[in-house]
């Protein structure tokens, strides 16, 4: 006999459901369509939620295929905003760009994650901050959370369903404001008056074009720039008080962690290129004060065995103005990426010729 909680006599309410759902559907489409139009008129642009699932989806795309080798960009927000995938792809024939950058988190874990992956032998373009190599300045876990997420949820066949879901979500979010996390219902209710278009959007390939000049007022840009400089000044104060910048320790970290990862990747036929993205104004001065180039950046190549590209070493990479002193505007990002692609190409071509010479001899 059935349980007393069982609804075998469930009376489904009598409602003209076809009519009800038809009207509900029409109302819903009208509501969603109206809100989408409203956000567009107000100047909002669709943006993808840059969550761990999206990162894991692209982490899975780092392997060479029959048609393409991969160039994997890792690092911070400077690279995520400053390196335009389609420009790199068009200049580096036979390569496809994968963005594994995460803003505000050290990429060393990701570099090591790629190094441990014996299937990976592509090119790694690593936007490295020297602070990551100094223990006391290291952010606690870097990109470890993202790597752990990938290892837990993406390294088995369960990733097929997650990949489908992530891809559909990213494609839809790239086209519709109503799906943007910035315009979630909770924000609409609690921050209606203060909601305004942001200068930054995230695309489905994780590149983040920054529209400083076209979507920010002069005052907003000035405030933003000042905030960034203040943050860096605070870092400098901390640096001075605690006496960071022990280049001995840095060299140890660089050679052991970075050097080991570089060696593993390059031994498999891959390539690692450390990149110093453009930084201007007071932020640039502060960073040079904290980490003098001669003690840090200039030793990176010899200590790790990787190639390095410092924006000051190439005329075509100098001369960009970062509107907030730290990141490139979308228009400059395209020009910068174009110039960077040519340099990368020459590095890769030299490597290929060297390998060919070694093979022939």
């Amino acid at each position: 006999m059935p349980l007393s909680t069982f609804n075998s006599n469930l009376h489904v309410p009598y409602v003209p459901y076809k009519k009800m759902w038809l009207v509900a559907g029409i109302l819903c489409v009208v509501l969603l369509g109206s809100m989408e139009a409203y956000w567009r008129v107000r100047g909002f642009y669709p943006s993808v939620t840059d969550d761990k699932a999206l990162w894991a989806y692209y982490r899975d795309q780092v392997y060479a295929t029959q048609t393409y080798k991969k160039i994997v960009v890792i690092g911070y927000s400077r690279a995520q905003l400053g390196i335009v995938p389609e420009v790199l792809n068009s200049e580096l024939k036979g390569y496809k760009t994968v963005h594994l950058t995460v803003d505000g988190h050290s990429p060393i874990e990701t570099l090591e994650h790629l190094a441990r992956d014996i299937r990976f032998n592509g090119v790694v373009l690593c936007d490295i901050s020297l602070e990551s190599c100094i223990e006391e300045r290291n952010d606690a876990t870097g990109q470890k959370e993202w790597c752990d997420y990938y290892d837990t949820y993406w390294s088995n066949y369960g990733k097929i369903e997650k990949g489908v879901n992530t891809r559909i979500k990213a494609e839809l979010q790239e086209r519709l404001n109503i799906l943007s996390s910035y315009l979630m219902l909770k924000r609409q209710i609690t921050q209606w008056n203060s909601l305004k278009p942001t200068y930054l959007e995230t695309r489905s390939d994780r590149y983040r074009p920054a529209h400083y000049y076209t979507r920010m007022s002069e005052k907003e840009l000035e405030d933003h720039k000042r905030m960034r400089i203040e943050k860096r000044k605070e870092d400098l104060r901390e640096y001075t008080e605690k006496g960071f910048g022990d280049s001995t320790h840095y060299k140890y970290e660089a050679s052991h962690r970075l050097g080991s990862a570089v060696a593993l990747i390059q031994r498999r036929g891959g390539k690692v290129i450390f990149l110093k993205m453009p930084v201007t104004g007071e932020t640039g001065v502060i960073e040079d004060t904290m980490y003098p180039r001669s003690q840090f950046w200039d030793t990176l190549e010899s200590v790790t065995g990787a190639e390095t590209i410092h924006f000051m070493d190439y005329p075509q990479l100098r001369g960009f103005i970062c509107p907030d002193t730290s990141h490139l505007d979308v228009k400059d990002a395209k020009v910068y990426t174009f110039a960077l692609a040519k340099i990368i190409k020459s590095i890769i071509d030299i490597s290929v010729s060297r390998e060919k010479v070694n093979y022939d001899s």
Binding site: V12, P13, A24, G25, L27, C28, L31, N156
Partner: protein, 479 residues
Amino acid sequence: MLFNSYSFFIFFIIVFICNRLMNNWKLNKAFLLIMSYLFYAAWNPPFVIILWVSTIIDWFCAKNIYRSDQKGIRRFFLCMSLVSNLGMLAFFKYAGFFAENMNGLFLWGGSSYHISLPSIVLPVGISFYTFQTLSYTFDVYKKKMCPAHSFLDYALYVTFFPQLVAGPIVRAIDFVPQCESPRRATSEQIGWGFVLFVIGLFNKVVIADSFMSPIVETVFDGTGTPDFFCAWAGVLAFAIQIFCDFAGYSTCAIGIALTLGFYLTTNFRFPYAAVGFSDFWTRWHISLSSWLRDYLYVTLGGNRKGKARTYINLMITMLLGGLWHGASWLFVIWGGLHGLFLIIEKAILRLPIAQKQFWQRHMGQIVIVLITFCCICYTWVFFRAKSLSRAIDIVVAMTNVVSGFSDSSTLWLPTSDYIIVGVCTVAILVIHYLMRHKTLEMVAHGIPWWMQSVIMSFMIYAIITSLSGEDRAFIYFQF
């Protein structure tokens, strides 16, 4: 595969269309079974094997229990079912917990012996489907039902995707007969099924994930010390979150099953309108509480062996019920607190003051509802906190009114969060109280169809505009 995912949307459209198009009932059931396995495999394909093992063992055991008249043989096969199901549960869910506690004991005893912690992935829904298949063998053993005639029907009962990974824990006696004769969902069942699905998703995606979850995370997972108001905001938010998340999932499951022509058991009956803890457990996670009552509490003797034994049986049932939720002493504490409150309630009901007419009137009932709700909130702290110390911090803050007016808090919540929690708490208590003797179906009967259209369209709008955040799996998936 989560109900609030795009992949599930595609999956369900395929299942629904094929279900409608197939005229052959056996083929239809086989199709539902295969799709249910695919649904489960979406998490991690190898774990389907565990599902098969559980299904086959209990099918075999139930058949042999039914065939034999000898008590010894019947008990043997019942034990086989118990050992295999509970063994799997113990291994996957509690091995690490056991090892951790043994290491703690060794350390306390001064030994340097150490068991290395096994790295075992917990199969999604194992707590649910093992209990479900166990109920089948128990019911056959107790002669409440005959084993299913068809393995297909039985396998579909175990694996039916709407309830596979987070309940309701369906009894075979309720589901298997539905498989025996061809069924085709009527347009009313489909229409109402979709209504339930939308209501469930609204609860989960909008209220639980979008509104409550960030507040809960700030209070429970933050490193700062909450004050009185902050602690209560976090706990009330969690009370709402866990109800909306879990009841939301159950409502989705019931709705989806209905669109395919199947009825699943009600799992929640407006639990925050509970008048005392006994009433709470007839309203919260009903399929689990009735399982524990029928197969554990009654087996231990129930209330048939005197007052003291009743209290002991209650406590054992609630402690194990707590442990079922997770391999952590915090869940045991949660269960223990519920056991304690149940015992206190039984004791209070014996007192003369409990017999007064006042408690039967509205005001009296409201007072008891509010007291019950507050006590339930205290227990939720242990359910959600990640450590005992954090739980204690929050409980202490909940009791320390003075802290709300000092500057002691190092945790900060925006005013809008307090308002949201306040409004949602009042709303949920009022709705639950008004609905405590009703069902959604009864209420829907009284709402004009055009108003239902408006409500549905707003709910769908709210769901779509809340989908974009970080994917949060249903809370009960971790069980």
